[in-house]
Point group: C2
Chain length 63, copies 2
């Protein structure tokens, strides 16, 4: 499977935010992440970078 | 491998923009995509949505 782990960058440190993310949707109120288990998380952030082969999504909080 | 194809949404139609994308980096001047072959493409767009298990990234052009 090709899901990725989503991390939030906080003071230069990556904190795991949601594992095994499948879907990522940009919305007016933030980014909605959904993992392969159906768990959803909404966060006010932007996608800073992704490395899909390494299964990584890095998010950065926005105001 | 877990790369994804990047499409640009144009008048409601998805056009293939870059195949086998590995890295995606948000920059001041747009989004930089790099595929597993080392090919890079910069585009003034935002990430609209992604479905990693289906290997899809949908971009939407910005001004």
């Amino acid at each position: 499977m090709c899901e990725a782990n989503a991390y939030i960058l906080k003071d230069g440190v990556e904190e795991l935010f949601l594992e095994s993310v499948d879907k990522v949707v940009s919305r007016e109120d933030g980014i909605l992440l959904e993992n392969i288990f159906g768990q959803q998380k909404l966060v006010r952030a932007r996608i800073k970078e992704m490395a899909l082969v390494n299964h990584r999504i890095i998010l950065e909080k926005t105001e």
